[in-house]
Each structure stands twice: as C-alpha cells, then as structure tokens.
Amino acid sequence: MRPVLAIARKELESYFTTPIAWVMLTVVAFFAALFFNGSLDAYRFVTLRAFQFQDPSLLERLNLTDMVVSRLLSTMAIFVVIVAPVLSGRLLAEEKRSRTFELLMTSPLRPVQIVLGKYLAALGVMAAAVAIVAAFPLVLTVASRGAGGGAGVEWQTVGTGLLGLFLFGAAAMSVGLLFSALTESVIVASLTSFIVLFTLWIATIFTVGVEGPVKDLVTALSASEHLNAFLAGRIELRDLVYYLSLTALGLYLAERTVEGHRWA
C-alpha cells in the first residue's frame, strides 16, 4: 500500500506543480459559472412569465433544482469528456517518454501498484473538479428560499447528481489511464481516450432510425443515458454497475498492459 500512496502523492505533486491541473480546474470553474448564470437567467425569465400569466400548472412544475442544478451537472459531464483525457493522458505516457518508467519497472513493485497509485492521483483531481461544480448549488442554497420557506435546492437530487458526475469522471479517468499505458505519446493517449469517451457520450445518436436489440445495446452502452437517473435524483443499480464496471475494465486492461511490458 505504501508504494501506491507514494506514487499517488508524487503524481498529485506533479499535477499541481505543473499548470495542467490548474488549467483544467479553471476550465471547469469558468464553464460551470457560465452555464450556472445562463440557466439561472432562464429560470428567472420563466418564473416571471409564469407569474405574468398566473399559470398554476406552469408554476407547479417550476423547480430550481431540476431547472438550474441538474442542467448544470449534465452540461458539466461534457466537460468531463474533455478534461479527463487531458488530465489522464500523461499518467504513464509521460513516464515512458522521460525514461522514468524504467525506475518504476525495476523497483520492487507489482504492476497493479503502479496503476492504482496513478489512478488514485487522477481520482483526486477529478474529485477536486466535482467539488468546484458542487460550489454552485451551495451558493444557490445560501441565496434561495423554497416555497415552504426552507432551502430552495433539493440536496438529495443534487447529491445523487454529483455522485453520478463523479462516477462518470472516475470511469473516464480509468479509460484515459488505459490509453496512457498503451503509448509513449501524451497527445496520442489524450486524443484516443477523448475519441472513445466522446463516442460513448453521444452513443445514442447512432440509434436514430434503428429499432430492436441494436438500439437497446447501444443505449445500454451510452455514458450519457446512465447519468439521467442520477440527475433526476435516483440511484439505479444498472447505472452504478455501468460506471463501476467501465472503471474496473479500464484499470484491469491498464494493469495488463503494464505487466505486458515485462514480456516484450
């Protein structure tokens, strides 16, 4: 366990001593702020209209959590697709390029310890990104009041949404780690994992005009479909299984790839 933590610590150190983590977290913060403001404005507009027309059914459906927070979270998931490849691409590819991979591979370590150490650090940065996103509903809680006088934000729904976002981020990082293990080039690793994650994210596009088992299969593989229940405040087993098994698959294949270096 100690080498795992040592690798994770060193990796976190180099994340934050180089600009990469700062730049990516700034991207997340900037766009989260942008979309937060946008959906808040839209919410205010719709609310004003609903009051103008005194439409009770519309007023009943107005919900700060769904209209602002869930929307923000689903938009930020797209940024996971962009940020995770950039953050994870360097994890192993950089070691190979700078020849420090030789140090790791000739130290008394198992490949699984190298992979887990790297992954732990990546998970830490992803947690920081999700924490930044979580700051926005927090601000909203402080500044808003619900119809009953309580908080205007339903934290159960926000909580499951954030959990979904983090699980998707965790899976994205493990996919990135796998591609980082496969190449010496950081750019190639980042690009290939971006293509894979992007394809998984927009998979439902391919189901247009398709019916039957093919459609079911593609929908089941879609990373965005599995986020919907989380954003609506539900934790469903199939979604948990999807993200966790994607994470496990990425880590397992990355471990096999590192072990494979000893064989060829």
């Binding site: 100690r2 080498p3 933590l5 040592a6 690798i7 610590r9 060193k10 150190e13 180099s14 001593t17 180089t18 700078s98 020849r99 420090t100 991979f101 030789e102 140090l103 790791l104 591979m105 000739t106 130290s107 008394p108 370590l109 198992r110 000893r262 064989w263 060829a264």
Partner: protein, 258 residues
C-alpha cells in the same frame, strides 16, 4: 551472485544479445566494455527485470529475473543509461519517493537519503528542482537512487557519463569502495576507468562475449610478455582494439584457444 546462461535477446531481425553466458561472484566489480550498440544496456535491462530475454536465463542473488522479479528487484540498485529523475521534484523529494518505492523502513529513510546524498556529492543541491540541475548532478542523483537501501547488487549503466574529470574520480572511488560488500556491474566507454575500478572486464561485441577475465588475465593473454602497471593505461586500449575490431570469428577462435 549473477549467473547468466545462454542469454539471447532479439528485436525482430536484430540480435542485440547473442548467447551470452557469464557469472559474477559476490563482491566482484565487473566492467562491461563494448562499442555502442554492443548489447551492454540490453543485458543490464534484462538483469534488472525491465526487459525479458528471448531465450536463456539470468539469475541474480539466486533468483531468476523473470520468474521472481520482485525478489531480484529488492536486491538490485539500478542506474539506467538516462538517469530516471523527475524534473519537477527536488533531489530530496525524489529520493524520498524512491525510498518508498523500494519499501525502506520509514524511520531509516531520512538517514539513508542523507547517506547516499553524501556519498554521491549531491548534498548541496538537495532542495533545488532537478530540472534545473546540470547533467552531472542529474547523473549523480540517479546514482544516489541506485544506492538507496544499500542493495547487494548494483547495475550501473555508464555511471560517469556527463561528469567532469574530478567528479569521475569521485564516482570511481565510490565504486571501488563498494567492492567486497556489493556486487557491481558497470558499463563504460572509458577504458582507464574499467582498468582502475574493475577487477574483471567483460568485453561484448555485436551481442557476443568476446572476452571475460581479470585485468591481469587480459594482459597476459593479449599482450604476452608486456609488463604494464595501472599507470600505463594504454594497454587496455590496445587489447580492446584487438577484441572489437577483429571479426567475431577470429575473436572466438582466440577465446577458444584461451
């Protein structure tokens, strides 16, 4: 301590190491000599478990490097051709990182880092960022890493590359002081270095072993009748020239005759 038997490494069509066999006893310091691309680094990478051999076996401290890599890696300190240092870290945090990888007992880490820094002469730069250090310092930080934990076996791939003459002398003294308690394999292009620091010299040419003997043995065989002292270092150049310019077949015959 190190037993290499019929070791062969092929990269597609290229044969990097060809049927190499030799043994190194405990406490011996052995120098690998050979032109660039002779297979020195490849052999060292196989011995440290970084690369697998195509065929043949290598045992270090009684453990097969492929079957029991962790046991071997625990006992070997390795300085690769390019020092495996992280530019963003300071030597102190780098060595602390390496100590954790090697699983050194926590309470010993600080003293151990101070010890290897002292021995390799990097104490003065311990808190500077490695990326800003000169080549010689980077090389010595890499060497310090290999010495961490006082491993039984040291594999040093060109340890004096990038050092100035005074530093070369320091590293040479360091390697000499390791003899006896440690088994050392080092590769070098600098022939006097091999003569001065190593008890035995192993000459590789085109992946094959062309000669392996003590310095005295090499002199007796290749320069019969010549009286040389260690101050007179040109002799090794002469022997080396004979061994690596001759076609392998001739060299083999010479070896066979010996």
């Amino acid at each position: 301590m190190i037993e290499v038997s019929r070791l062969t490494k092929r990269y597609r069509d290229l044969v990097a190491v060809d049927d190499l066999s030799f043994t190194v006893g405990k406490g011996e310091v052995v120098g690998f000599l050979g032109p660039n691309g002779a297979g020195k680094s490849t052999t060292m990478r196989i011995l440290t478990g970084f690369l697998p051999a195509t065929s043949g076996t290598a045992r270090v401290a009684g453990f097969d490097v492929f079957e029991e890599p962790l046991e071997v890696k625990r006992r070997v300190g390795y300085l690769p051709e390019q020092p495996p240092v992280y530019d963003a870290l300071t030597p102190r945090s780098y060595l602390r990182f390496c100590a954790s990888l090697k699983g050194l007992p926590r309470q010993r880490v600080k003293d151990e880092i101070d010890r290897v820094a002292e021995r390799t002469g990097v104490t003065a730069v311990m808190n500077r960022v490695i990326g800003n250090l000169s080549k010689g310092y980077r090389q010595r930080v890499g060497l310090a890493q290999a010495l961490l934990g006082d491993p039984e076996v040291l594999v040093l791939d060109e340890p004096t590359v990038g050092l100035d003459p005074l530093q070369i002398r320091e590293v040479r003294e360091l390697v000499k002081s390791l003899a006896g308690r440690h088994t050392v394999i080092l590769s070098t292009h600098i022939l006097p270095e091999a003569a001065m620091t190593c008890q035995k010299v192993l000459v590789i040419h085109q992946g094959r072993l062309v000669d392996f003997d003590t310095v005295e043995g090499l002199i007796a065989r290749h320069l019969p009748g010549r009286r040389v002292t260690l101050d007179d270092i040109a002799f090794l150049e002469e022997i080396y020239g004979k061994l690596v310019t001759a076609p392998p077949a001739v060299a083999e015959a010479a070896q066979g005759a010996a």
